[in-house]
Amino acid sequence: MARLARLALDEDEVGRYAMQLSAILEHVDAVRRLDTADVPPTAHPFPVENVLRSDTERPSLDREVVLAQAPVAENDRFRVPRIMGEAP
């Protein structure tokens, strides 16, 4: 789960979270066991649909201001470590 969530954990954390997450899952089991035949799901309290705005130009955030908050920026871009692995 930690790998899926991109969280690097140490041994201690893995043990502790495994225990706590089991307890939480046990607590929310009431929801899993609920008879919900014919009950539709609610994703949002008031479904609002097709919220549109007029297609007019407006200034976006200033590039320099945004890049100033980046951990590493270079040539007007965010710099990141290698994403692709070696070719097989």
Binding site: A2, A5, L7, Q20, V31, P71, V72
Partner: protein, 488 residues
């Protein structure tokens, strides 16, 4: 140990009237507020940052307007505090997390610009449980906030810094966000008024997202009238938030004093056993409303008890998605690694605290293939059942009463190692969050140890006006000593 009553800065209307009339400068009001912060901040730690220079500049701008014959607005010169998950241009906005320490937002939250346009003077960013996940502020990466009623106890959370700042008389008005109770619970534990509006009444633009289908911004104040004014100022449609309801801001103050005669008030019996002294306060509150002419009855709504387990699936699921943006690329902390995935994982492993990691993993699990239907899908259906149960109850009642919290403010460390015990704090506040309904906590009593107890008023969607009327009636019936401001 025992807190003593403090004078505070007076009502918002009083401050604004004197500033607008030029009888008192915004700068002078600010000085009183900042003196109080200097006196107590060392004990309380309400703020991540007090922005003295920006506040002085804002106060001077208000005073210049008054001198030029312009009206600065209904909050002229009112010092306010902002939870540190509300974006403020050029002022660090951290969510009390290491991963965002020092981040300078490139834009203001809509709430922040509306407050400034109304003449308010923001004095700083208040402490919270990291990313608003928690009920005690003990999850802040920068240390906990203390409760001004008893420095050995938590102020509640997640908006604990905002609640404590108002309760200690540092500011007469503060803002927080409420996802499952993060305004109402700290308001109850700090003896002040806290309001979570109907979902969509206040723009979430510039509120750092936790669980987007639940998050709402709302006010903290000493009195119901002040909370109502604070809400009126920030409410109303905003095209920058597509979930913002396209309707005018509710008018609350006009009807605040209309009383409760003929109103049908339901005591939610399912929550009375949740905590005896808090339950007793609800019964006493209902008696006070009956004496004022309301028709009071008990009602059983057992489906509301599904709220807590449903919430602790839905909120972490939404959080795990929202917090995926903290990847060490565009802002905040980066911990380097040989490749992007290792960099992401190290950044997040180091940057997030224990509760945030717990919830991200819980949410990732609930959304993962194979468990999605069993957990997230089922929780969404449980959410429907909660909403339907409210619909049925509101056929017979105009408002519902519950305790805000199962217990009064608890000592530091007493729940922090047991997530379930901490989650139980939200038992009574979660159902209206799931339904998107408004809810308010009003201080109503003190327990034998002198700690405040809050009563929660629930109303159907967009029922803010009637809810605040009931809150005002409760306030009138409550002993004065049950609410702040206090000096620790």
């Amino acid at each position: 140990m025992t807190a003593s009553p403090a004078p505070g800065l007076g009502s918002l209307a009083g401050i604004a009237a004197s500033v607008r009339a030029g009888e008192r400068s915004a700068r002078a009001v600010l000085a009183v507020s900042l003196d109080r912060v200097r006196e107590l901040e060392g004990d309380l730690h309400c703020f991540n940052e007090v922005t003295v220079e920006a506040a002085e500049a804002d106060a001077d701008a208000v005073d210049r307007m008054v001198r030029s014959g312009l009206d600065p607005g209904p909050l002229a010169g009112v010092p306010v505090a902002l939870k540190d998950n509300l974006c403020t241009v050029g002022i660090p906005t951290t969510c009390s997390s290491k991963i965002l320490a020092g981040w300078l937002p490139p834009y203001d939250a809509t709430v922040v610009s509306r407050l400034r346009d109304a003449g308010a003077v923001a004095i700083g960013k208040t402490n919270l449980d990291e990313f608003a996940m928690g009920s005690s502020t003990e999850n802040s990466a920068f240390g906990p906030t203390r409760n001004p009623w008893d420095l050995g106890r938590v102020p509640g959370g997640s908006s604990g810094g905002s609640a404590a700042a108002v309760a200690a008389g540092m500011v007469p008005l503060a803002f927080g966000s409420d996802t499952g109770g993060s305004i109402r619970q700290p308001a109850a534990l700090c003896g002040i008024v806290g309001v979570k509006p109907t979902y969509g009444v206040v723009s979430r633009y510039g509120l750092i997202a936790f669980a987007s289908s639940l998050d709402q911004i709302g006010p903290f104040a000493i009195t119901v009238a002040d909370a109502a004014l604070g809400l009126e100022v920030i409410a109303g449609h905003d095209p920058m938030d597509s979930t913002s309801l396209d309707r005018p801001a509710p008018s609350l103050l006009d009807t605040l004093d209309e009383g409760v005669s003929g109103l049908r008030v339901g005591i939610v019996a399912d929550f009375l056993s949740a905590g005896s002294e808090c339950g007793d306060a609800v019964v006493a509150a209902a008696e006070a409303l009956a004496a004022a002419g309301a028709k009071v009855d008990q009602v059983r709504i057992p489906e509301l008890l599904l709220g807590l387990p449903a919430y602790y699936v839905i909120a972490p699921a939404e959080a795990s998605s929202n917090l995926s943006r903290y990847d060490g690329v565009r802002y905040g902390l980066r911990v380097d690694g040989p490749d992007a995935e290792t960099m992401n994982a190290r950044t997040r492993g180091e940057g997030f605290g224990a509760e945030v990691k717990r919830r991200i993993m819980m949410g990732t699990y609930a959304l993962s293939a194979g468990y999605y239907d069993a957990y997230y899908g089922q929780a969404q259906k449980a959410r429907t059942l909660v909403i339907r149960a409210f619909e049925t109850a509101y056929r017979d009642f105009d408002v519902l009463l519950t305790p805000t919290t199962p217990s009064v403010a608890f000592p530091f460390g007493s729940k922090v190692d047991d997530p379930i015990e901490m989650y139980m704090c939200d038992l009574c506040s979660i159902p209206s969050s799931l339904a998107g309904h408004p809810a308010a906590s009003v201080p109503f009593a003190l327990n034998p140890e002198g700690l405040p107890i809050g009563v929660q008023v629930l109303a159907p969607a967009l029922g803010e006006a009637v809810m605040m009327r009931v809150a005002a009636s409760l306030e009138a019936a409550a002993p004065r000593e049950s609410r702040g401001p206090v000096t620790p």
